[in-house]
Symmetry: C2
């Protein structure tokens, strides 16, 4: 009997894996342009880290973590997100003390959430994101949003809508929380069980509730913007005006509170609707935090970060049909066809020689007739076949056949190094009438 | 109180993360040259997969797996290796039926083993490897070893020793197992507990025992080579002679059996001793398998694969001091210094503009005096400072200072696009006397 994958996980194969690699390479490239460097915290952390770092009132911690005891009876958790792990990494390695602040890091890798599997939602999926930690200027909010926006733009995701809001400073949020408690007092009895818990732990969360009846009540709740301190208002205005100057479009969304406890001041989401009208909701999100580093044992320095779901972005790219084949590097340049097993060793030497010149070269090592080999070459979508028979071995040469033009030329082995680039460039684009093709 | 990392895991930061990326990029590049494409099976699999795919007599399955029950009471395991997952992926997605064989895949990512932590051994570490599945020629063994060897060569790991052996076909191994049982019958009572279990489950494993007293006994055990069928002998000879022709050096090691149940015919290891004489043992290993695809529910087709430990390879590279700074891409090209907060918006526009030209640009967003900003620039090892004060904003220009030559030039904003590449190239190598530096 065959064994299948774990529910909610998925295999990435073929063109799709090239697409993931393309997206990730671009994220890496643009992070480098912004002078962010990579960090890799482990997948496994002590469960306590996420309870403290993500917040015990969050859905993620309450319901969605893969937590288990290891053989030493320690409670471990597969990271449901990267931020807490990176805060731990910064504190444990004292990076705040040995580097100029802010620390600017990006990350890339799998995260794990025990969610109900649904279309486009996985229990293991990949996140890319950044954290900018220890900077005191509101302008790091701009820097971080600008980086995210530039990534989406260079992926040609032109329908992005940036929703932005401010949760204000602690004073603003305390005032707002009181106002929300007051407002929901008479409604909470009619609201869902989750909201009842949220009412006790963190009433801001109620604003995120997805239950339609509750959303009706939420509509009339007080607005954050009416409870902001002047400092927070002014800070937010500066962020917005810098975004305008950089021509980064946004929509202020008063209802945006984000599902994590640690946010303060600026929060934002990247929403996407494909050309076909499919609404993907948020494909990425982030915000500013004031005390997260302290929460895991470090100094009291603020930070800001965001993350993208890589699977989400790949889906959007496919839906919008944005990527042309050229960007997907699954080309095989040459296919070497040894005619007869006795010519295999020479054929393999040739294949390896051309590989060393940084071409992608496959070779038929199966016993196969010539027409069958050409069929294989076609299926692999190779550009050139290299035919090696008795005669070629004897005279130490090769026959190169352009599969598009069907023209072929001979090349002596000692000319491979000097001539193969030219042949590759010229013959691929000509119709068989360039000087290499006769 | 601060939370630390889970024992046996490690953080990858700064130059080290660049080193990991460099190594992985090279592995990816050379795999592409060999026409292998990437696959990504999930980290989580049903435990049953590894019991069947890795083998229940293996140390990995018996002692080292991170296994737990999820909320649906399913027994899941964090992959201790990739091969079993890739076999599952091939079978489940019926890749053997929709593609010409062999399937040629590479992989890259974290694996998890609950081992006793020791120098250079981690409980979460990264593996790179390949699987070549469904080919019938012995030459795929050569292809796979050649790929591994080319990767190590291009990493400039010149002290690699390839140890190779054959375990023969089923008949050979059955005969050999009987001979081993016969030989160890009188010794097993004096040997370690593990060996006693191995004696029952798979006596070949005894040859891998690390207990010194047991190794003394093993020395006199019968040799695999005396029990090979003629077919297996001949097959092995062909592999060896092809390696010779390709000038891939090897040592036949009669005692090499590899710690996994599924191997047959060719097995091999890559051993390394650094210039300083540190013996790293095997930094990679692999072998041929006959029935692994069938074992997880697919057709009875053979395969061959190997894996490298990325952490091991990074350690070796550091020890041998092989990588020069150039290959480690942690450069920051420009550091933008706004003098006064009122010039921040313009400064940031400039930074973003130069980032879009694919340079790495950092910007000082903190309130800092000019000398402090230069100190930051120095620490970051940037090539050029860009100074932006009141005057620059007014005239929409920038001052670029080469930190090596200390020369500076002015550039008007509208010339950035056309001139910055030249300035970058010329001023970095000159001593301040090229035409851009006055």
């Amino acid at each position: 009997m065959s064994i299948i994958n774990v529910k909610g996980t998925h295999d990435i194969i073929g063109k799709e894996s090239e697409l993931f690699h393309y997206v990730e390479s671009l994220m890496r490239l643009i992070s480098k342009q912004y002078a962010f460097s990579e960090v890799r915290p482990p997948v496994l952390e002590h469960s306590e880290l996420f309870v403290r770092g993500v917040g015990e009132s969050s859905d993620v911690v309450r319901k969605e973590m893969y937590t288990f005891l290891d053989k030493g009876e320690r409670s471990l958790t597969l990271r449901p997100e990267f931020t807490a792990g990176i805060m731990r990494l910064i504190v444990q390695n004292k990076l705040y003390a040995t580097n100029d602040l802010p620390l600017k890091y990006f990350y890339l890798g799998p995260v794990f959430r025990y969610e109900r599997p649904q279309l486009g939602r996985y229990r293991q999926f990949n996140q890319f994101g950044v954290e900018c930690v220890g900077g005191n200027s509101y302008f790091y909010d701009v820097e971080t949003i600008s980086l995210a926006y530039d990534i989406l733009k260079s992926l040609k995701l032109n329908n992005v809508v940036i929703k932005i809001n401010t949760l204000g400073d602690e004073e603003s949020r305390n005032n707002y929380r009181l106002a929300l408690k007051e407002f929901f007092k008479e409604h909470i009895i009619d609201m869902c069980e989750d909201c009842k818990q949220r009412y006790e732990l963190n009433p801001l969360r109620i604003l995120d509730c997805k239950v339609p009846e509750d959303q009706e009540i939420v509509k009339n709740a007080p607005k954050m913007s009416d409870y902001l301190t002047n400092e927070s208002k002014e800070r937010f205005q500066r962020v917005l005006s810098a975004l305008e100057q950089l021509e980064i479009p946004y929509i202020v969304d008063d209802g945006l509170v984000r599902g994590l406890d640690y946010y303060s001041e600026t929060v934002f989401e990247f929403h996407y609707t494909s050309q076909n009208g499919n609404n993907y909701g948020a494909i990425g999100a982030g915000g500013h935090y004031s005390h997260l580093v302290k929460e895991v044992g470090g100094p009291d320095i603020p930070g800001i970060g965001f993350s993208f779901g890589v699977e989400r972005i790949v889906s959007v790219l496919k839906d919008d049909n944005i990527l042309n084949e050229e960007k997907i590097d699954d080309r095989v340049d040459f296919y070497v066809m040894p005619i007869g097993e006795e010519n295999l060793n020479y054929a393999y030497e040739i294949a390896r020689k051309i590989r060393h010149l940084d071409f992608s070269v496959d070779i038929c090592l199966e016993k196969a007739k010539v027409p069958a080999m050409f069929k294989r070459a076609e299926k692999k979508n190779v550009r050139f076949a290299i035919i090696i028979g008795e005669n070629e071995v004897k005279e130490r040469k090769i026959i190169i056949k352009n599969l598009a033009s069907q023209q072929q030329i001979e090349l002596s082995e000692d000319k491979i190094f000097s001539d193969i680039y030219d042949i590759y460039d010229q013959c691929f684009s000509c119709d068989g009438d360039c000087e290499n093709c006769r």
